[in-house]
Symmetry: C2
Subunit: 360 residues, 2 copies
């Protein structure tokens, strides 16, 4: 009994460490990583995706590869995770790359840019298009190895104290909007606020901001935005699908065996598909509850949609001039996006439109 | 050198088999499975999904868990895979569950039923709704443990020698249609043919059938249907998204350690997301090539869509009367579907429609 306990406690690495088979020892080594999430613990969807990833890795390695998951502030602030991964003070992070558009706008292409690809298209670009290759090249300068890990789907356009009917209504609006979308909205007079999720409700309640967008009904209900700003708009021109990433410090990644690298890749894929599924599955009930509690649904006017589209085109043209990394990756993204919307406009969209029009 | 070779050859199980630590040995055991695919090797999308899954499992176990992948006829016929898994003559299979609607129509709910959920919705039902629990209960009588492994997205409506404009044009049409869709189309006079993918082109060329649907541009181009029947219709009312499954014999599943079970689950998730991404990514170019080679695109008329929708409702009402397993699972599916289309009709569909209307 004592002997078995000892063997269990030592782990297989310990058992074999006395010099028998190096290759096998490597494949079985104990690894401990820390993952910093940019999202608050209250969100089982998006914070839970980091936890699910860590659980996957632990299960697949029989507990030998342990990743502890940390909320913003425990190790680093919500928006400090990219720097921490770059510097190697943490091994990995789960975040929305567009938070870091201030370093370089190119980060946003790995997440969501206004009137960009939807969830499935972005996944297709990353898994079978050139997306992963191009982003890996870009991230190398930040010592980051990235994996796609989650998507929210097309987001709601946010919560507003008063109705937003015209472009003029956007002028001077202090609006919490995730990442890069604010750059485009600033062209229309919006005063964008890039505030971490966990701090948004307080800012809205205190009147520091006039409006807030987060994700969609399930998360938004948890935050309770509808109690302060009941006008709920759709769709979000700035987020047709926000893709999240797992950032891994390149030295930590390179120290893993090929076996563990494959386990991490697959664990991230499972977390990726599970996050979108969770949002899709849970949003309908949450939306019903929001409406029952006073949320007022509005569709953004054509005028506003068109104005954001025009501003988007201007910003992208400017970036193509100024930012070579953006120009290179956006060219591939744009070609892929164009192909995707043409293809989706056949079977996928006509099927969905037909279904949405039925009395189901 | 000799000693290292011996250790490598024996595997870790052999090294530790002399009685030290049973728990560790179990986690490291060598496993060999055979996977029978229902799909022909020429389709790197759908046959490739089985291969990718097997590669994932091998990588995550450092080669200790090997799954060989077999085309139809190598071990069992394309439509014999469910029986073979049930009987345990093979450990697992990759297939489209609706092929087996003749055993029980309930199989089809795990794949595609006419005017059913789209790809993302079906994934949401399986990963976060009640879908997986309900299907596992159903499959238990067939000794099957299922995993979701791939989706095609909304399919094209198929290839027809002559134009199909009215419901009358469907009467007497000998149409190869995958699985359960044929049951609904039979109400409109179609003579459905449930033919494995690998045999469809020959049947069309020989004139045994008048029309064929398979999946979409990328696969269809490989088969070359457009050379025989150039009229290409969309969307497929019978397949808003065909979900594939990994079937595992329950004894084989129960013999795995929790570690290996988790590895299989995650490997299937990665294959699941990758298959949809591959179709989405590759369909646009294939569609262009098909059109360049003479394919003629048509949208199914409203008359035909509505007639299929009506026939679908009749068939489902009949099944609710006759088949208790269908009734139980379909009730949950229908409720989920209704919620999903209501929710998607806000942000997701309005965003996609706006994008499709732009000059991108």
């Amino acid at each position: 009994m004592e002997r078995r306990k000892f063997l269990k406690g030592a782990g297989l690495a310990g058992v074999l460490a006395s010099g028998t088979a190096p290759a096998i020892v490597m494949a079985q080594e104990n690894v401990r990583w820390r993952l910093a999430s940019s999202f608050p613990k209250v969100l089982d969807t998006i914070y839970g995706t980091g936890e699910g990833f860590a659980r996957n890795v632990a299960e697949a390695t029989d507990g030998k590869f342990q990743i502890s998951v940390h909320a913003p502030g425990e190790l680093v602030p919500a928006f400090g995770v990219a720097d921490a991964v770059e510097q190697g003070t943490i091994e990995c992070a789960h975040t929305a790359p567009y938070y870091f558009f201030g370093k370089d706008e190119t980060f946003a292409i790995d997440c969501a840019i206004p009137f960009g690809m939807n969830s499935r298209m972005q996944t297709a670009w990353m898994y079978d298009g050139n997306g992963m290759t191009l982003m890996r090249e870009f991230y190398a300068q930040y010592n980051i190895v990235n994996f796609t890990m989650g998507n929210t789907g097309a987001q709601m356009g946010g919560w507003y104290r008063r109705e937003i009917n015209t472009v003029a209504d956007l002028n001077g609006l202090k609006f919490r909007v995730g990442g890069f979308g604010g750059r485009v909205l600033a062209k229309l007079g919006v005063v964008p606020q890039n505030i971490p999720g966990g701090e948004t409700y307080q800012a809205l309640e205190r009147g520091t901001i006039d409006a807030v967008e987060w994700v969609g009904p399930y998360d938004d209900l948890k935050f309770g935005f509808h109690k302060v700003a009941p006008n709920y708009y759709y769709p979000a021109p700035w987020e047709g699908g926000a893709q999240l990433s797992l950032y891994i410090n390149d030295k930590a990644w390179n120290a893993l065996s090929p076996q563990y690298q494959s386990i991490v890749r697959q664990a991230a894929s499972d977390a990726h598909v599970r996050m979108q599924a969770t949002y899709d599955s849970r949003n309908p009930n949450a939306l019903r509850q929001l409406i029952a509690e006073g949320a007022k649904l509005h569709r953004f006017s054509r005028e506003i949609m068109d104005a954001v589209f025009k501003a988007r085109n201007e910003v992208y043209a400017e970036l193509n001039e100024k930012n070579p990394a953006w120009k290179k990756i956006y060219a591939d993204y744009e070609r892929f996006l164009r192909d995707q919307y043409q293809w989706f406009s056949l079977s996928e969209n006509s099927y969905n439109q037909y279904m949405a029009a039925q009395n189901l």
